[in-house]
């Protein structure tokens, strides 16, 4: 037997039985973890859907010695449904106002044009 045929006769790659069993076990666990999910796993997505119909209002106020920028997202259908989120704080009021301006513009971007809420929608009772 010459050198060439010795090299060509190299045994094919094999794994032992214990490793193979372990491999299949891993596959089993993978199949189990890839089970179909429940539709209410997406609840959080539907819960937050109203946020796409909100007007954005910027609010700059002083807190703990700094100027804090908050954004208020109010539903255009019912402005009393809103959330307030802290964005950034700055020691300089002008800088804070500038940041509020830009952050509001960024958050209020919408294909339908900027959505707004008016005071009339609140249905205030003057009595």
């Amino acid at each position: 037997m010459n050198l060439y045929s010795t090299i060509m006769k190299k045994a094919p790659f094999t794994i032992d039985n214990a490793t193979y069993a372990q491999l299949l076990k891993g596959l089993n666990e993978m199949f189990l973890s890839e089970k179909k999910g429940n539709s209410n796993d997406f609840r959080l997505y539907f819960d937050d859907l109203w946020l796409s119909d909100t007007a954005v209002i910027d609010d700059v106020h002083k807190s703990k010695g700094e100027w804090v920028v908050d954004l208020v997202f109010a539903s255009i259908h019912n402005p009393l449904k809103f959330i307030r989120r802290f964005i950034v704080s700055h020691p300089c009021p002008k800088r804070a106002a500038q940041k509020a301006h830009f952050m509001r513009r960024l958050a209020a971007k919408d294909q339908r044009g900027t959505l707004e809420v008016t005071i009339e929608q609140l249905n205030l009772c003057q009595n």
Binding site: T14, N17, L24, L27, N28, L32
Partner: protein
């Protein structure tokens, strides 16, 4: 479209099945393929070369069946794999008969084959483990039982067709598959049985 080489392999497999590997001559293979012996010699140097190629072909096909495990562990996938096993063992009976001829040491092919069938057994055990994990199967009533069940199924998978021929019955794929499923049936939980009735039983009803 088959090329000549493939045609030769197909008729060899057929002749091996009918007459056994040793009894087939090159002349027969050439006649069955519809080519001259000279042409046959052009494609394969000698009979050993043909046998070698046939074995390679068989191993390739069997690994394809084993690979089906990676697709899914669901019951329907096991059923599909059973069909593949039936086709395989029906087509290559001569191969098993080959094992009974000699009692001395296994040759190279038989050693490779041994590796494959061991993997097959491990797969069956692994499928049972999955069914237990998925609560389709009751937890193992006594240790080692499911290993025994897996080995029985494995024996059935390989020798069922031979057994039928010995009894003078012509085996069908449905009988083959039902024999395997019935072996698993006592171990189903309620939910497993419900899934079985919904997914697997309809296959046998027509």
């Amino acid at each position: 479209m088959y090329n000549t080489k493939q045609k030769i392999l197909n008729s060899s497999i057929q002749l091996f099945n009918q007459n056994g590997v040793d009894a087939v001559r090159l002349q027969q293979i050439a006649e069955d393929t519809g080519i001259s012996v000279g042409n046959l010699a052009y494609h394969f140097k000698n009979k050993d070369a043909i046998v070698e190629s046939v074995y390679e072909y068989i191993f390739e096909e069997f690994s394809a069946i084993l690979r089906e495990y990676a697709v899914s562990t669901a019951m329907t996938s096991f059923d599909a794999q059973l069909s593949s096993y039936y086709d395989f063992f029906d087509k290559y009976q001569f191969y098993i008969a080959d094992f009974f001829k000699t009692n001395n040491t296994l040759n190279e092919h038989q050693q490779i084959w041994q590796g494959y069938v061991t993997k097959m057994l491990i797969q069956i055990k692994s499928r049972i483990d999955y069914l237990v994990l998925n609560q389709d199967f009751i937890p193992e009533p006594m240790s080692g039982l499911y290993q025994q069940v897996a080995e029985n199924i494995w024996t059935n998978l390989i020798f069922y067709i031979q057994k039928c021929r010995m009894q003078g019955i012509t085996p069908t794929e449905m009988q083959y598959k039902l024999a395997i499923w019935n072996q698993l049936r006592p171990y189903f939980t309620e939910s497993g049985l419900a899934e079985f009735n919904q997914l697997i039983l309809p296959i046998f009803s027509y």
